[in-house]
Amino acid sequence: MVLEKAKIGEEHEALMSGCEAIAVALAMADVDVITGYPIRPYDTVINYIARLIADGQMDADLIHAEMEHSQFEIVKHACVSGARVFTGSSGVGWVFAMEPLVVSPPARIPIVAICGNRAVDDPGAFGCEHNDQYLVRDVGWMINWADTAQEALDLILMSYRVAEDPRVFLPCSLGVDGAFLTHAMNLVKLPSKAQVDKFLPRYDRGKLRLHPDNPISVAVQVNEDWLQELRRTIDEGARISKTVVEQAAKEFYQIFGRQKNPFFEEYMTEDADMVLVGAGTLSLSVRANVRKLRKEGKKIGFVRMKWLRPFAVEEVRECLSRFKAVGVIDRDYSYGSPDFGGIMFHEMRSALYTAKKQPLISNFICGLGGREIYEADVREMMKIMEDSIKAGTVKDTVTWVGTRTR
């Protein structure tokens, strides 16, 4: 078992899955209370955590909750009373926890969770889709997506740093694609404990701590008399989180040499006419095919989104305005939405609405249920973008790519 090779706290390199990298990051972050409830694929992280605790490599209490709702309620209350916490779920498990998920941001509780992205049943499917994590997009959660086990480790540390910043105090969910990232092995550079301690200060709940020394009433009842003002203060946290991510990333880069641009990563975009945009592990396949198409002389690139909340609107707008055509890949879908598109497509199109120079933007729905994205799929996307550029107008706004037809 690879786990035995990882020496937590020492700087070295080890081969590990996304879930294992996350567990190691949590051990180094000195997390206090963790809750788990089984659902594939996120739960492998709990397996690793349990092993680390059992072997004395991690000092935390792991509570086996009896349902996802309790999982999130337990860490919510633990966090308010001063503990650094972690939990996670996938697919319908994430949906079952929706009530505590929704009430955590207004109480300003910096839970860090992973969403092991999985299709929301029915029909029962284990494969990766992003709709589960997008369900908390509008309620005050910060959301981001990792591409590799290395980045999962990095983003766990970043997520704690940003979420627990008193200016923010909002929960953060790290999206890890089911199977592709949760279970795929990568070489991971493990930082030293000293590096982690330098980057990540101790969680200090301050004057919002629930403790007899600080007898406050939390999450009290309001109506039309105060709710609007309270919503506005939550919004202030959500707004400033972007600056906090930038500041944290700068320091992260100084200490670890990674995460230079925290919000997105550009690949072969310098002279590109058209770019594909997406989040998570689909980047592996897309980048490989972009390289291939580049050899054929196609001016294509790829932009991989990391943080979607906060959304770096100026940076995204400036970046995507440089290209003639933009194709957003959604491993999710929004039924009945404008032009029947995916969620990230709507985000990007909205961000570009006020751009001085607007690219021709189209949307590709693919990879649903964990379906691989093949060369033929990327070629089809490119063809549609090329046709749009030739015509000077978007040819097909939304296309389901790699879908069998009747």
């Binding site: 000195d30 206090d32 209370v33 000092d59 935390a60 209490d61 509570i63 909750a65 009896e66 349902m67 709702h69 309790s70 309620e73 337990i74 860490v75 919510k76 209350h77 633990a78 966090c79 308010v80 009373s81 001063g82 503990a83 916490v85 009530e99 505590p100 009430v103 101790r202 629930l210 403790h211 007899p212 600080n214 007898p215 406050i216 009433s217 939390v218 999450a219 009290v220 009842q221 309001v222 008399d225 105060w226």
Partner: protein, 332 residues
Amino acid sequence: MTMTMEFERIRGVKAAPLPEMYTSGHRTCQGCDSALNCRYIAKAAGPRSIALGATGCMYVANTSYYSTPWAIPWMHTQLGATGSAVLGVSASLKVQMRKGKIKNEPINVIGIGGDGGIADMGLSAVSATLTWPEYNSLIVMYDNESYANTGIQVSCQTPYGAHTTFSPVGTVKRIMHKRWKKNTAAMLAAGHPECRYVASACTAYPIDLMNKVRRALSIGGPTFVAILCPCPKGWDFDPRYSHEMGEMACKSGMWANWEMEDGKLTFQTPSSGIIKGMVKRTPVTEYLQRQGRFDHLTKEDFDHIQKQLDKIWGDWGIPAILPFKVAEGELA
């Protein structure tokens, strides 16, 4: 396990602690025994306590923004999450104390939920919490026998035949609610072998109530106390009779005061007298007829309820607690 607080037994009203940890600032109804219950719990537990309150009357009518009645730290928890709330806070304190992040001291963690929050929606989380011996906590169910906060709807703790907005008296169906009240505290006592203390109390007997809270907090591990809290609005009686209504519930046998400590079951006043055969149960009609929610019941209905009660106190394996006994010939 972290340390627990040691308490003196309260012997009489005058010996109860003077400091109020639950004071003015709430807007509960006149004669609200659920609010009085909060006062007794907080008084008994004292200042080194954290209260977690589930959605319900004791949230909505209690902690309006800028006017909390709680002098101890209090936090709202979701309707079905009282068990999770106490577990989370207790684990948080324990780990932080173990790691030296906060001072190691006994802190009471008390979850307070209504019958809807505890016996209906939150039952699974309450049950889960009672299986964790290393986390000290007390879960209190204030049982006002309906979803009172939302406008009096049936819960699994609403007595047979009661009128609620979900079980109105109709021209065709006179009785809409025909389920017998769930025996929540007994079920929890029976099913959680590592839970050392489960009790049942009533606001009409405050000394008993406060001592049960204290015992639950000092014994260690997860504990549970169910408390009957008469509700003038939901039960439809004059607010001045809240105390009397609690007494009548206990004396008629509709409610029993008992405690289970380390597997030993004892009954308290007035249930102790009833169980010993020293006091006769009062006729249940006397209790029911004082409440508007039973106005539509006929003599047959009263007889049915009385018969059920006679069975509960007369035939059950453990009277008022467990309905079954070992069949004859099964034991050596």
